[in-house]
Symmetry: C2
Subunit: 222 residues, 2 copies
DNA sequence: AAATATTTTTAGGTGAACCAAAATATTTTT
DNA sequence: AAAAATATTTTGGTTCACCTAAAAATATTT
């Protein structure tokens, strides 16, 4: 029947993410890298997923999700992000601690559970990292956000998300006092190393490296 | 390393439950029955668990948990019951709906998660079925409860738990208005079929079958 | 276009967790 | 204490999800 293993679910999510980002079929090697496994194992699994009609697979041509596969992947992301909200909002975890737990929780099966959790959390539309949470029908909320690095001097934005989800980056942002929803104004840009001087809404000023500004999303406000 | 699979965890829990109830080593067949598998599969797994020093296994003699195995089993039950409280208290599930979900959730790994969940729930000591929740150190709360069927006419008790955890029984109790914490007085016992006439604290009277009174625990109050 | 490099697949294994059927132990009955 | 019944283990499979090494296909360089 339509039973699906944790391993299969992880492949679907990886294929979704890769093909989304690259805008084309996900390559065997790319999947292997994301899942920390070998190309041979990936080929193995791709055959099984194709058999189940969850992916469109052509040898040597990479893979795309079928509508059924995409539905499952979207729902996994929905679950992952709802659990992240739960862990942060209800259990008091910080945004750099929740990924591994959500990675486990996303594999819990039960439609009623997800919908009741969503309800309990107040139907959040974004997770603690600012990533959108698909709704019960799999619809995504889009948002106009740009990398902070794309803002010219004098422009202001509100922090909406991160590109890099690593604990190291998230902790560094905490240290810098940069949290989702905070306003940030670019005061000056230094072409030499692409760093920038910014101010928070309380007037505090900081220098941010290119690496930080290239991994932080803002919604421009002016 | 000390990594443990979901299958192994389920065996530990089964062995714990059986040897607890029987007061002796759990037999291969008993484990197979509980886990809905075959004796051959059980023997297979027992070897692996013995190898990991989680059980004391002697061929043809049944198994007991080692202290390490018992610690793991206790912690699994802790997780299962805490998640049940969460599902009922926070997500609004009824007590007959939560078993399968908790069965999945108990396998989520993360000490911090369990302790924060426990905190979030207010350190509950009993789950929605009245079963005790071991504390973070694995200690159990004991309670003096007897089967309703053991109460003589004229005696009163407070409903504290169930022996039968089946949805059918739980739903029937809901139907009868018998919930945990409710007071119940035995008015009359009918030796013919071991049924009894009881009254709730609001005076409502009912006839309960032997089957009901043998599956419902009460704490005697008079 | 040939040579080289890279990517992907195939071939042949592994261990975990299951199974049915056969063999062996243990327990119960006679 | 045999015989019969029951319980358990062993034997020889299976599938899933992984692996390494070799082969084949594709892409890139010369």
């Amino acid at each position: 029947m339509h039973t699906i293993s944790t391993a299969e679910e992880n492949y679907l999510k990886a294929i979704f993410t890769i093909s989304e980002k690259e805008g084309k079929a996900a390559a065997t090697n790319a999947i292997a890298t994301v899942l920390n496994t070998t190309a041979a194992s990936v080929t193995d699994m791709l055959k099984r997923l194709a058999e189940k009609d969850l992916i469109a697979y052509e040898k040597y041509r990479g893979v795309l999700l079928t509508p059924a596969g995409e539905r499952l992947a979207t729902f996994l992301i929905r679950k992952h992000r709802l659990w992240e909200v739960f862990l942060v909002e209800k259990l008091g975890f910080s945004w750099d601690e929740v990924h591994d737990l959500a990675e486990q929780l996303e594999h819990i099966h039960g439609d009623a559970l997800v919908e009741r959790l969503d309800e309990f959390l107040g139907h959040p539309r974004f997770d603690p990292h600012g990533d959108p949470i698909p709704d019960a029908e799999g619809r995504w909320t889009y948002r106009s956000q740009v990398l902070l690095g794309a803002l010219d001097a004098g422009k202001r934005g509100v922090i909406t998300g991160v590109e890099d989800h690593s604990p190291a980056f998230l902790q560094y942002l905490d240290h810098l006092g940069l949290v989702l929803g905070a306003g940030i104004t670019v005061l000056e840009r230094f072409p030499y190393d692409q760093s920038m001087r910014v101010s928070a809404d309380d007037g505090t000023e900081r220098i941010l490296s290119e690496k930080v500004s290239q991994n932080l999303y803002v919604k421009p406000t002016i």
